[in-house]
């Protein structure tokens, strides 16, 4: 038995969020990923594979296998 390309694509994407590996359900958008993590998109900046994602693109950008996300926000600093 062989695993088709389609079968691989339907598997849960493995991604890395802030350095930690995670598996997410297939077909998520980045906006849905944030929602699932309990984050307010208005308070977070998303870097996907070293590219900053504009807020208006979060809903239209799919989470893909191998994606590396950095989710950052402002904290106290000098």
């Amino acid at each position: 038995m062989t695993v088709s390309r389609e079968g691989t694509a339907a598997a849960a994407p493995s991604i890395v969020v802030n350095g930690d590996p995670r598996e997410v359900e297939p077909g998520l958008s980045v906006a849905e990923l944030l929602y699932g993590l309990g984050l307010d998109a208005a308070m977070v900046v998303v870097e996907r594979n070293r590219q900053i994602l504009a807020r208006q693109d979060l809903a239209g950008t799919p989470v893909e296998d191998g994606d590396r996300f950095e989710l950052v926000h402002f904290v106290g600093g000098g």
């Binding site: 993590l37 950095e70 950052v72 926000h73 402002f74 600093g77 000098g78």
Partner: protein, 263 residues
Amino acid sequence: MGSATPADGPLVIADRSFASRLIVGTGKYRSNAEMVSAIRASGSEMVTVAVRRVDLDRSRDEGILHHLDPAEFFLLPNTAGCYTAPDAVRYARLGRAAGLNDWVKLEVIGDDRTLLPDTTATLDAARELVADGFRVLAYTNDDLITALRLEDAGCAAVMPLASPIGSGLGLVNPYYIREIKRRLEVPVIVDAGVGTASDACLTMEQGVDGVLMNTALAAAENPVGMAGAMRLAVRAGREAYLAGRMASREIAVPSSPAAGMLE
């Protein structure tokens, strides 16, 4: 009667003006409530913030925007913690993407014991960020040549240190700071090293345009009290500078008339 102290104008950086010449950081406070109270007591309008990963396992309200209203304070994102120009550029872009403004307090550290800046990397990052449309306020050494190059690179302000970050050692080289102020046209903000009110006052007496501090407030026994003292000290130092100090001399000159003494 003599004339009053010359009227001071606002601190103008790029296209913005600020009534307060004191800029404060938001790090290391014991609580967010204390931080906000201290910032209000300082009278500062511009406050610095850092860019860090969201902690996915902790509470959801740790972000500073839950405590500081960008309508009340002008938030200046920094690149603190960056040791290379590419990292600083990356952090600056993340800060800008938060959507508040296109300003950045550029900081590229070269040594983790002294936190002294890597001036070569700072210059590289400054050039790239200016080309990318940022208003760059560059933390740097008290070195005139680097300060001049940062100005040439298009920085909106140059921010030499008083002494190492968080050290509280005060203004270690007033002469270098004065010379930087004399030679630059962009605002000179002394950033880092101020420990107490006299340090802030002495710094402002050198004629610089402003002072930026964080630990002096956050690590004071009473941050709100120290913030009020710093507000007065920055103002006093500025007014003393504008008023023009007397010449100092190493021999006493009596203040009361020598004539008219009794036999």
